[in-house]
């Protein structure tokens, strides 16, 4: 109960987009509960609504109707200031294209979200950053720029960046799509390990069956609706 209470609850969630004169329903009446500490894969073919679902949980987008509750709080009803705070304190994002800042090295990229955490001292921030870089196995590449890293290494940096703020929830949109299968497997191993060690909730999207296998739970979407298990 506690895990559900602290988890994510979606009720009658709908998202429609207008494309010219046409209205496209990206999500339709999605009901979903995700326990805290879960390792969940949102699976489905292209256009099934996977990214839209993650965007709504991540407050990157707003639903047409329905609610999103995180730890019992309706996050979609939050004012802008609190939405920003929610993203900085509660969430971590991992993007398909890594989205690292090319002007910053590994340390600085991982450090970036901590700029918003003024309650931490410079020393505490540094310790956290080094801890996360070590956890993803890149301690020897601290001063390397993204262009000096492989795809897998860049994704590890992105994972470290997503976790450095100790978020409750990490959202990853197709995190292994731009990686070869071996590197993708390594990245998934890392995510599984962190989920087990820290209890961070991972919600990631994929259409790759091999990736889906690694998830403790798979939520299948088709045409914006959750398929029955």
């Amino acid at each position: 109960m506690a895990a559900v209470k602290n988890g994510i609850t979606l009720r009658a969630l709908c998202k429609e987009y207008r494309l010219g004169k046409t209205t496209v329903a990206a999500l339709c009446n999605v009901d979903l509960e995700i326990r805290s500490g879960s390792f969940v894969c949102v699976a489905g073919p292209s256009g099934s609504g996977k990214t839209t679902l993650l965007n709504l949980i991540g407050l990157i987008d707003t639903p047409t109707s329905g609610t999103v509750h995180v730890a019992g709080e309706d996050i979609q009803g939050l004012p802008e200031k609190l939405r920003t705070r929610y993203r900085s304190r509660t969430l971590g994002f991992i993007f398909q294209s890594f989205n690292l800042l090319p002007v910053l090295d590994v340390f600085e990229n991982v450090h970036l979200p901590l700029i918003l955490h003024r309650e931490l001292s410079a020393e505490e921030k540094k310790d956290r950053v080094m801890e996360m870089i070590g956890a993803v196995g890149l301690a020897d590449h601290v001063r390397h720029k993204p262009f000096e890293l492989s795809g897998g290494q860049r994704q590890r940096v992105a994972i470290a960046r997503a976790l450095v703020t100790h978020p409750r929830i990490v959202l990853a949109d197709e995190p292994t799509a731009n990686l070869d299968s071996r590197t993708g497997a390594e990245v998934l191993d890392l995510m599984v390990r962190i989920n087990a060690e820290r209890g961070t909730t991972f919600i990631f999207s994929s259409h790759d069956p091999k990736v889906m296998e690694r998830a403790a739970r798979v939520v299948r979407l088709h045409d914006g609706q959750v398929e029955a298990a």
């Binding site: 990157i60 200031k81 993203r87 993007f95 090319p102």
Partner: protein, 420 residues
């Protein structure tokens, strides 16, 4: 510090764009700084270098006298002269005005002298304190010889010369002059051309009108003035551009205290010089305004390009929890740093140039500019201008990137992430 470091990194990454902004700011600050200092110096130089004879001075004289002739020439009847009491009162009042650097009483008259083969020559005469000659008639005059000293009754050769060299006076020669006394009667007096300006040594491309200068006390003694009357009192402005506010005060005082007198601005009888100063002022200020506008527009454009190029970065930062204000602040800070850096370099270069020109002086013999700034012009710094121009550029540095930065902050996260 973290945000500052991020901004500096981004400026370095987008080097070509940063360089353009820095260059624009550098040029703008350099030119604006130089112009603003020059405007002040040129105006003050004009007030000074004409000997305050044409630019930056004014006349107090009988209000019936017409002064529509070029360079203040007029014909005064004896009853239109100012008595010594009036002269003293007017000069005392002018001395109380902070914008006025000094005053002088003069007698302007017309006379005749017999030149070669007894040919009659008309001339314009000016009797003034020749001890102050060098002070009032400065480097506009490329002079040889010396001005008359106080008490010398001989005539000084004209300090302007005409193309007709026959009207030159030969230094050391004696001439018979017909000079008007206080009663308007012309009296013969033998006059020695004792020195002053040698026509033949003047640059041939200089133009002007002829005047023959006499020492004031000497002239009065020579033609038998019983009391020290004068036809006018000349007031000299420290800065020619202040006449607009000084003359109304003088007029007001005259109306209350000396109703028989009026004040005439140099602009009324030498409009070309007023137009030169005003034209220069307007031209430079217009140029400054254009430069600033170009600077602002280009910075706005470049900041907008930068934001479009960095959509993905903006989306990522917003997803991490950076607010709209954080994004706007970052882009504003980047623009501010680039403009501030360029402006600072521009100021330093301008300061170096002005300092160098001040040390060496600007030597020019071009006739037009010689009327404006003379030879050996030395520009200098004006602290009020430095502060003002620096303030303008700081404001530009802050405001120019602000609007596009705010718009960048307001972009939808979804839209920016989709653009990657």
């Amino acid at each position: 510090m973290e945000r500052l470091s991020l901004c500096i990194r981004n400026l370095g990454r987008h080097a070509w764009r940063t360089r353009i902004i820095v260059l624009i700011a550098l040029l703008g600050a350099f030119l604006t700084f130089v112009f603003e200092n020059l405007i002040d110096d040129i105006s003050r130089k004009q007030s000074d270098m004409f000997g305050r004879a044409f630019s930056g001075h004014f006349l107090v004289l009988d209000k019936e006298i017409e002064t529509r002739n070029t360079f203040g020439f007029y014909y005064a009847r004896p009853e239109q002269m100012m008595d010594p009491g009036q002269v003293t009162r007017v000069r005392r009042f002018l001395g109380s005005l902070p914008e006025v650097s000094g005053s002088q009483e003069r007698i302007i008259f017309s006379g005749l002298y017999y030149g070669e083969k007894d040919a009659e020559r008309g001339f314009r005469g000016v009797a003034m304190d020749m001890g102050a000659y060098a002070q009032n008639f400065t480097d506009m005059y490329v002079a040889r010889g010396r001005p008359l000293g106080v008490g010398e009754q001989g005539a000084c050769a004209p300090s302007w010369y005409e193309f007709e060299q026959k009207k030159n006076l030969a230094i050391g020669q004696r001439y018979v002059f017909l000079l008007p006394n206080r009663n308007g009667e012309f009296v013969d007096r033998e006059v020695l051309a004792k020195g002053g300006i040698d026509y033949h040594s003047m640059p041939k491309d200089a133009i002007g009108i002829s005047s023959i200068f006499f020492d004031l006390d000497g002239f009065r003694a020579m033609v038998g003035y019983e009391r020290p009357d004068a036809t006018e009192v000349v007031g000299f402005l420290k800065d020619a551009r202040t006449s607009g506010r000084v003359l109304p005060r003088v007029q007001q005082w005259l109306a209350a205290n000396e109703p028989g007198l009026k004040v005439v601005s140099w602009r009324e009888y030498a409009p070309i010089f007023a137009e030169i100063v005003l034209g220069f002022d307007v031209a430079l200020k217009t140029l400054e305004g254009i430069l600033l506008a170009i600077c602002v527009l280009l910075v706005v454009k470049l900041t907008t390009f930068s934001i479009i190029e960095r959509y993905s970065e903006i989306g990522t930062l917003r997803a991490m929890g950076f607010s709209r204000g954080d994004i706007a602040f970052q882009f504003t800070l980047e623009g501010f740093l680039a403009i501030a850096a360029g402006s600072a370099i521009g100021f330093l270069l301008a300061a170096g140039l002005i300092g160098a020109l001040h040390a060496t002086g600007v030597h020019n013999h071009a006739i037009f500019f010689s009327y404006m700034i003379g030879d050996g012009f030395r520009p200098s710094f004006h602290s009020a201008k430095v502060v003002r121009v620096a303030g303008v550029f700081l404001a530009v540095a802050l405001l120019a990137p602000l609007l596009p930065a705010i718009q960048g902050g307001r972009l939808s996260i979804l839209r920016t992430l989709e653009k990657r």
